[in-house]
């Protein structure tokens, strides 16, 4: 695989530029399309986006405050949800992003529109789901009398950086998945491991210091910690978290675009 990818990286002819449309209009329409298809035929519609995290929150809270009571845990439901929401988004968006080019073979084979649009749209479609869950987080915070502070202004900043980071990963993974279809299974396994490597059910402060490095450069963990800083501790996220997130977004997007641009000229033949 590596040699194949390397070969593709070397011989990149300049892609043809036959499409002069409206990129934003196109992305908007494709996201709207996903949204309508997903929710039009469900009687409970958007409620489904709430049920899954609420059930997980309930189960985890029961396990870690009743079955195995591990010390005093104020706001544990909110604490867990601060972990679940970023993790769920990462898993869902990256997986649908990875398979997006192959899933949309019809578009790739028929329309000369920029291919980058496909994985990006796929990630953005998950944001509809996400915004409902973030709303749930906010309602829960207010329910705990953790009323909004100025620090909340950091929420959109951190999320935009995070979404950019996931878009970058999805761009790279979707392009590689065209050539090596196992990529999606690699991503699925990785997601499974990730659940335990980010502080969803436990607190970062309880981690043995020698493993702290696993968390310092992990953007999913960074967002979870930042969410808890903002919503529970009610102060702005630690500056290192913001810096790492910005770095992760830039690197992932740069690398993702580079891989995608180099691999896309041959999508047509390999899809």
């Amino acid at each position: 695989m590596s040699s194949l990818v390397a070969r593709k990286l070397e011989s990149a002819p300049s892609p043809p530029r036959r499409w002069h449309g409206d990129l934003l209009f196109l992305i908007e329409n494709l996201v709207l399309k996903d949204f309508r298809i997903r929710y039009r035929n469900m009687s409970l519609g958007i409620l489904w986006s709430l049920i899954n995290p609420l059930v997980m929150m309930g189960v985890l809270t029961f396990v870690f405050t009743r079955l195995i009571p591990t010390g005093d845990r104020p706001f544990y439901p909110l604490f867990v949800l601060c972990g679940m929401v970023p993790y769920n988004f990462f898993v869902g968006a990256l997986l649908s992003g990875t398979t997006s080019i192959v899933d949309n073979a019809g578009l790739v084979k028929r329309v000369p529109a920029p291919r980058e649009v496909i994985p990006v749209t796929s990630v953005l479609s998950n944001c509809v789901h996400l915004s409902i869950q973030v709303a749930l987080l906010i309602v829960l915070s207010v329910g705990y009398r953790l009323t909004p502070t100025v620090a909340w202004l950091w929420l959109p900043v951190m999320w935009i950086l995070y979404i950019t980071f996931v878009c970058g990963l999805a761009l790279g993974a979707s392009a590689i998945n065209v050539y090596v279809r196992d990529t999606r299974y690699v991503v699925e396994s990785f997601n499974l491991v990730l659940f335990w490597l980010v502080p969803i059910i436990y607190d970062f402060n309880n981690i043995s210091p020698k493993y702290a490095i696993l968390y310092n450069y992990n953007p999913v963990a960074a967002l979870i910690m930042a969410m808890r800083n903002i919503l529970i501790d009610r102060h702005p996220p630690a500056l290192t978290l913001v810096r790492n997130m910005a770095l992760a977004a830039t690197v992932a997007m740069g690398l993702g675009l580079l891989i995608f641009r180099r691999l896309k000229p041959r999508f047509y033949e390999h899809i």
Partner: protein
């Protein structure tokens, strides 16, 4: 000066392009087998002047669709040069991105955005597109209630309203009914009179003779003959290329 130019274009497709699992990749890496390749186009050269119409004829698998796909920019040639001057509308397989659960008007907007129309252009031309398609009564119904003919009418109508300078047509217009077929031909003639360039692939020699000034006969990826449509069609029918 030409609107569309193919210069010594070669295009290969791998025969076993189906195997894409990691296992095959590793096996291939360890034992490079020099995978068999199939040459879909062999040194194809031609050019179309602005305002001219060229017809592509040849048996199934001769390379007609490959030429149209390369001209659309969906794939790249392995060698050779392709130049396209102007906005292209591809009427290859119509209805890209159509989804059965969405309404006609929702699908219309998605298809328009994919075809390169801006938000304003889509709004401005919406009525015109619906009018031309003739499916106004069903425009707010889900697409799954449409007949295949109605779907083609809607898709064709969007494609034709993208204000193209070069039309790439692949025998799609045959899918509608007689009345719509006649309407499409009229529309194509109007576009020709307006000076649009056209590349048309068809098995209907009558259609080619009627719409095109020149024709290109392809056989197994090679250009057999190119010249005035009447001559090429006659040669193709007799099976002997005129030299």
């Amino acid at each position: 000066m030409s609107a569309l130019l193919f210069d010594q274009v070669n295009k290969f497709f791998a025969h076993h392009a189906g195997q894409k699992l990691l296992r095959e990749r590793i096996v291939e890496m360890l034992h490079p087998s020099g995978r068999e390749r199939f040459q879909a186009l062999k040194h194809v050269s031609f050019s179309i002047a602005p305002g001219e119409s060229l017809g592509l004829i040849g048996h199934n698998g001769a390379g007609k669709s490959t030429i149209l796909n390369l001209a659309t920019g969906l794939a790249l040639p392995d060698s050779g040069r392709i130049e396209v001057k102007g906005r292209v509308a591809s009427l290859l397989e119509l209805g890209a991105g159509f989804h059965p659960d969405l309404t006609g008007s929702e699908n219309l907007r998605i298809n328009a955005a994919l075809s390169g129309l801006t938000r304003k252009q889509t709004s401005d031309r919406f009525e015109e597109i619906v009018e031309f398609s003739g499916v106004r009564d069903f425009i707010h119904e889900p697409l799954r209630t449409y007949s295949s003919g109605m779907m083609v009418r809607l898709a064709f109508s969007v494609a034709i309203h993208t204000d193209p300078e070069i039309l790439l047509v692949d025998e799609v217009i045959g899918a509608g009914d007689q009345e719509f077929y006649a309407k499409c031909l009229d529309k194509i003639r109007v576009l020709q009179r307006e000076g649009k360039t056209m590349l048309l692939a068809s098995h209907s020699l009558a259609l080619i003779s009627m719409l095109c000034q020149r024709a290109l006969w392809l056989d197994h990826g090679r250009v057999v003959q190119i010249g005035p449509a009447v001559d090429v069609v006659a040669a193709y029918e007799s099976g002997n290329p005129a030299s």
